[in-house]
Symmetry: C2
């Protein structure tokens, strides 16, 4: 059938506590059409799943793609999952426990369905269709409220024995450091996340250090945007905070380099909106700290897909390197 182009389409869904983002994605990782709908978690798992089913079907219809042309649906979920089994073990922010979501979606849609956690699908999205450009060994680091990670090694997402691989926010960087939500002290996340950086400035103010950031601390509005802006203007506390966040992150990236030898680090999340103000010092510090073989030709770049990374990567669970 020369001349006839057979199109393959996938649907990706990024399910969050407040909204679900849904995208119709080509086998090249391009977004054909997308939508965002409220999660309405108060309807419980049954209601949410029913609406995932109909929203996805409607999206395909709106794009004039017959459902038979959908090759599969991937779903990114913020919780603890049994990925091979396709089951949500628990998902705190939706209040779900032991929901066999994959089988339920599969029987409703009659297409293959895969699930994975939200950090992993975002990493896969970036590597497949964003900053990653198909690299086979890449690590995504998301600097937001916490520090999340997703690892692609030899072209595959790493999950580990129980699905906890890539939890790089919990690498300990300061044994005597602040208490982390996870129960440990001095995790990367206590220093290099938005929360961690804000905490460092609050601490400096509380011990009497002088800083232009003090008013934001007092009215509780301090964000990393303020910190990077004041660091640029030379404020000592802001500079020290950025240095400490960059140092801890570079140290973890140096460790990851000897363990995994990636060719690419992709930095995303709210803190990464600082752009080159973050990347420049990070690249320099990484060059100082990383072992010389392992740092060869390693690129450090910003994520490109923003909050579309999740649904694109979810679609990629099915489209990516099909075996």
């Amino acid at each position: 059938m020369r001349g006839v182009t057979v199109k393959r389409f996938f649907i990706g869904i990024d399910l969050g506590g407040t909204s679900m983002k849904i995208g119709l994605v080509s086998d090249q990782g391009k977004v054909i059409r997308e939508t965002e709908k409220p999660t309405l978690k108060e309807e419980g798992a049954d209601g949410v799943i029913d609406r995932m089913v109909s929203h996805a079907r409607n999206l395909a219809k709106e794009a004039c793609v017959p459902w038979q042309e959908i090759q599969g649906v991937g779903v990114g979920l913020p919780g603890f999952l049994d990925i091979p089994g396709g089951v949500v073990k628990y998902m705190t922010n939706l209040g779900w426990t032991d929901i066999p979501i994959r089988d339920r979606l599969q029987s409703a849609w009659q297409v293959p369905v895969k699930i994975d956690n939200d950090a992993n699908v975002a990493a896969l999205g970036e590597v497949w269709s964003g900053a990653g450009n198909g690299e086979k060994n890449a690590i995504c680091i998301t600097l937001g409220t916490g520090v999340g990670g997703g690892i692609i090694a030899e072209g595959e997402l790493l999950h580990g024995a129980k699905g906890f691989a890539g939890e790089i926010g919990h690498i300990q960087v300061e044994p005597e450091g602040a208490l982390c939500n996870c129960g440990q002290t001095g995790c990367l996340e206590t220093v290099s996340s938005a929360t961690g950086m804000v905490r460092l400035v609050h601490h400096a103010v509380s011990v009497g250090e002088k800083t232009c950031l003090a008013p934001y601390v007092r009215d509780g509005s301090l964000s990393t945007r303020h910190i990077f802006a004041e660091a640029k203007r030379g404020d000592a506390v802001a500079r020290k905070t950025v240095d400490q966040a960059v140092h801890a992150l570079a140290q973890v990236m140096a460790t990851l380099s000897v363990v995994l030898n990636p060719s690419l680090f992709i930095i995303g999340g709210g803190v990464s909106q600082a752009g080159e103000s973050l990347l420049n010092p990070l690249r320099k510090k990484y060059q100082c700290l990383a072992q010389k073989n392992a740092r060869q030709d390693v690129r450090i770049v910003l994520a490109q897909l923003g909050n579309r990374a999740g649904f694109i990567g979810a679609a990629g669970l099915l489209a990516h390197i099909q075996k």
Copy 2:
């Protein structure tokens, strides 16, 4: 053809600077027959490769296995390799540079050949047929002159972008620590290798600390066997040295657990001959340092194959999880 058992055989070669170990291995990872021959590196790459070719053929003949029944040969090599290309880039202790060893062996033997580095094949050997029992997420740590590593993730050996994955001896554990061969300071290898532990005792003696190990320091015969023995008898310097080595190793294992979430650590190399004197404190310290999700059901065991791990794992390059 009911009742007819088709046997599949593989050959594995562990090429070292002084000797090459060669084994005929079943598809279950059992050694049928093995031999060890001098490398005679002074003959150069051509001579060494010719003798690998004939020694392997002879081994099959001695085991009465016709060469046609050999499914493939794997070779473990101590050097910097282009693994997908099958080329030895450089191998210091044999003086080789840019040797396309895979293609040369393949054309001599007329069977598929794969190469990988010695630490990786040893890890694969242990996981396939030794302590690993087929685990899909396992990390082998070899405590010898240096600290070597091999990582199996999702059932596959990790190589990384340039083949440097698994170099866990070069994770920095003490930023202000001793200079490592790699140029960094305070690598795991400077503390938890045999060389590192001996160095720590030498240092203690040089600053005047009292220890029963002093005579061995003076005559240059100190080994980790002495250190573990005196630690058991309560010698303070010996104890401190073991504690420091164990702490650094456990800290690295905690980091690896959040990155890779393995279910198994296999500890090998000369230092591991201390057995439970090493494993007991290591397991305790790991439980203290590792993040609670990531340490769930993680086993820490001794390597079982000794110096046969290399050739068994080399055979496993072809036999293991054939896709």
